[in-house]
């Protein structure tokens, strides 16, 4: 029904033609799901834009066809194309909140959409209610008068799904439909999409960065790397018997939430950007490929069919019989390596580094004309937490569970409303200013968004050693020249020498996060609080950062409180875990014990919302397993 044929999208960079997407072929049958998988910058969203007819200026399709119902979309005129969009082809965007107009009610937006589809005004109201019912939205009649900001992200996405399916389209293009949502909402939205697709017999093009999720949801998967289609085949085949080293590396870089623990092998380096593509003659993955040979860089490899329907674009595809993990440097990880790897447990006999006893944090919002009415909101409710020196503790929960508030409490950016917070045995509230200052030095924070956490006007050198500019510098820095320290930190976080003079704007996301970590390390803290530090990164970069954290923790004996919504990340790094829901701790204990035998229903719910590594396990779970 949809067939993409040797599609090549090009742009001019410095007067040379660069193929942003090179020779992409795929086809999609009625009622099936095709997954487009790739990391950020792989060009996967561009495919969606091509189908929508939104090719950015400066880009041009130089080769290939996109056939939809045997019509070439690229040769259609604007009017015929527009007639297809919304009716035969519908879109589900990535950011549900920004996709809905904030000044219009849901009813108005939906009504306009129905008007575009040519539904008679008299029928619209009934149709809207039916659609909302179909996507399991509560109180549909009430919803029509609500504004987008009054709904949760998951509810907004449901509204958009209802709008997409109302025209009974033949094809749905969903660009990262669940990336902005919580884990539990993600499962619900995916389940809803599957249900709606079955009812309407709709085909779906799912664009995602998550290989495992795609393997569970899709029938076919095509993996993109820097605009090149590296592998294409049946979903389970691609995940279980990956032939291309990149697909294999992607899977290897993803931590598991169940089963045996293993060392993540992270690819070194990063995906080349558009400007670098022009000078690449051969395989675009060659520079990072552990199995490259000289011929790889000579010319682009042709796609070959290894087994029927499973295409791979590689000169030396992986031999599927030998299942040895590859390491970043091209050596294979030894079993000894995997045996020594374990999450840092810390020193249980020592005095606890921090101790929170029955801590609560209340936010007070002022309402009314003069702010006379106060509304209290309990962000953290009766939290008990102890962190030993050198121990890695994870805090998991969905957004709004209060886990970021815990981070702010520990670093002292928020003052606790009640309870006791002891740092190295001393009560923070009662301590004098000198102790407080020392405490502050011993606890550092790594921020979620490396872009926001780095002052764009400081060079990497001045960022890493920013603490040297602080007012009264502690003993830790005495006799340690700034240049020398910067060099040490650079080696510690694994950045090349020439980054010192660069600015954050010239670094990649992973590099920025390394600078972020280095800056926190500068004072040699005893505890680092890391708030969602890998959630914005690609999988291969995420694996690099996680391995770095473990190594740094072991080398310097630093304790870590890792806050994350991703359970597999927490399991990989932390020896102890705390599960939070609406400000309360619902379960805690050793990570392995909690994850292998969750007691609380909420923990079970969270665990079931992680796509399993084995594609033969049915996922998303059936209704009932997830509330």
């Amino acid at each position: 029904m949809l067939s993409i044929d040797h599609l090549t999208l090009s742009t001019g960079v410095d007067g040379r033609q660069v193929d942003l997407i090179r020779d992409l072929s795929a086809s999609l049958q009625r009622g099936m799901v095709l997954g487009l998988v790739g990391e950020s910058g792989a060009g996967k969203s561009m495919i969606g834009r091509i189908i929508a007819g939104h090719i950015p200026t400066g880009f041009e399709i130089t080769r290939g066809r996109v056939l939809f119902d045997d019509k070439d979309l690229l040769s259609l005129d604007r009017k015929a194309w527009r007639a297809l969009l919304g009716r035969r082809i519908a879109f589900i965007p990535q950011e549900p909140l920004t996709a809905l107009n904030p000044v219009l009610t849901i009813g108005r937006t939906f009504n306009e959409h129905l008007a575009h589809l040519g539904v008679a005004p008299g029928r619209r109201h009934q149709l809207m209610l039916e659609q909302f019912e179909a996507v399991h939205l509560p109180r549909p009649a009430d919803l029509l008068h609500r504004y987008p900001h009054e709904l949760s992200g998951g509810q907004c996405q449901r509204v958009l799904i209802a709008m997409a399916f109302v025209a009974n389209p033949a094809l749905i293009v969903a660009d990262e439909p669940t990336t902005a949502l919580d884990m539990v909402s993600q499962v619900n939205v995916l389940r809803l999409l599957a249900e709606q697709r079955r009812q309407h017999e709709t085909a779906m093009l799912l664009i995602t960065h998550d290989l495992r999720l795609a393997a569970h949801v899709c029938d076919d998967i095509t993996v993109l790397y820097a605009g090149e289609q590296v592998e294409y085949g049946p979903a389970r085949e691609v995940l279980r018997r990956s032939r291309h080293p990149y697909t294999w590396a992607l899977d290897q870089a993803t931590p598991d939430v169940r089963g045996a623990q293993r060392l993540l092998s992270a690819l070194s380096g990063q995906m080349p950007g558009i400007s670098a593509l022009g000078s690449m003659a051969g395989c675009r993955f060659a520079a990072r490929c552990p199995q490259r040979v000289a011929a790889c860089e000579a010319e682009p490899p042709a796609a070959t069919e290894s087994t029927p329907g499973h295409w791979v674009r590689c000169l030396r595809p992986r031999n599927i019989s030998a299942r040895v993990p590859i390491a970043a440097d091209g050596c294979e990880t030894t079993s000894a390596d995997r045996a020594t790897w374990q999450t840092p447990t810390g020193d249980a006999s020592a005095k606890p580094l921090i101790e929170l006893q029955d801590v609560t944090l209340r936010y007070t919002a002022r309402r009314g004309l003069l702010g006379q009415r106060k509304v209290h909101n309990l962000a953290v409710d009766g939290l008990w937490l102890k962190v030993q020196p050198g121990e890695f503790v994870g805090i998991v929960g969905e957004s709004g569970s209060g886990k970021s508030s815990v981070a702010k409490l520990i670093v002292g950016a928020e003052t606790l409303s009640s309870g006791v917070l002891r740092i190295e045995g001393r009560d923070r509230v009662l301590a004098n200013s000198e102790v407080r200052r020392l405490n502050r030095e011993h606890i550092q924070m790594i921020f979620q968004d490396p872009h926001s956490a780095l002052n764009p006007r400081r060079s990497v050198y001045r960022l890493l050693t920013q603490t040297y500019e602080a007012d009264r510098r502690a003993v830790a820095l005495a006799g340690h020249p700034r240049e020398e320290r910067a060099q040490e930190l650079l080696t510690d976080v694994g950045l090349p020498e020439d980054t010192l003079t660069r600015f954050p704007g010239q670094l990649s996301g992973g590099q920025k996060q390394r600078v972020n970590i280095g800056r926190a390390l500068c004072v040699m803290p005893r505890l680092i609080v890391a708030d969602e530090i890998v959630s914005g990164l690609d999988v291969s970069v995420q694996a690099q950062i996680l391995n770095l954290l473990i190594e740094l923790g072991r080398r310097h004996g630093i304790a870590l409180v890792l806050i994350s919504h991703d359970l597999s990340v927490v399991r990989y790094v932390c020896s102890r875990v705390i599960v939070m829901q609406r400000g309360k701790v619902v379960e805690q204990g050793k990570t392995e014990e909690v994850f292998s035998d969750p007691k609380h229903p909420y923990t079970q719910l969270l665990l079931s919302s992680v796509p399993p590594a084995d594609p033969s396990i049915a996922w998303p779970p059936a209704v009932g397993a997830v509330g």
Partner: protein, 304 residues
Amino acid sequence: MSAIDLGASSDTRSGRPSVVRGALVRLARQPRVWVGGVILLAAMLLAVFAPHIAPHDPLDQDLLHMLAPPMWAPDGSSAFPLGTDGLGRCVLSRAIYGARVALTVAVIAAWGSMLLGSTLALLGGYFGGIVDRLINYVVDLWMSFPPVVLSLILLVGLGTGVDKVVLAVVLVDWTRFCRVVRADVLVTRRRDFVLAAQLLGFSHWRTMLREVLPAVIPLMITLFSIEMGVAIIVEATLSFIGLSVPPAITTWGQMLADARNDMQSAPCVLLTPVACIIVTVLACNLLGDGVRVALDPRLRQRVA
């Protein structure tokens, strides 16, 4: 609190010079910056070297040549290139001398309102809470006075003189800086790098100056050049109604007031100060606009 601390340039790794250089390169690419800058520079040179450039003393009354036409008119003379006014004073000389007051007021008043407004904006935006609310109440109250009435009241109370005019403009216009800069401070304040600096042991004062202030400086420069234009107009208005400076000092507003009587017979006397005001204010606005486009990162992509 010098905005761009050039002392750090001795440290080759500091990278600050390259930030400044990048900003200068972007400024140089803006034609508006060039046009506005060149006009303002020319006006400033004229003002500084007025005694050497002006053909006559601006106060010399040549009663034999009252309302002389400009030199290109049939009976004009090259002694008075733009003619004379009703008291026989050289219009060109008066216009040149008038630039002195206009530009002095423009630069000092804009600087003063920038300092006052931005300092309060930084304090309010950074500390928030009661400090911010207090400053906001004052700004709200202040802005509800009509600006002309406020400056009139101030000048009646203070008396005349260039310094009084400067003070009046500062006291009226600081609120503009406070409002706009505070919004930018609030945005920067919420960035994580501000919290990071505090965790690294930076005091509030240092965080404010090192992390927050540099982020709002481009906006302050933009507002500064626009404020210069506003100050020129306010000064002209005040001297037009004779409340600005003593009659012994020549200003454009005064020239306008004097020319009113002979508007029909000698339009050049009226049009000269009008043209001076328009050209300098336009130059200020062009410069401000160009600086904004060059330094605002949100507009940078479109420019490139």
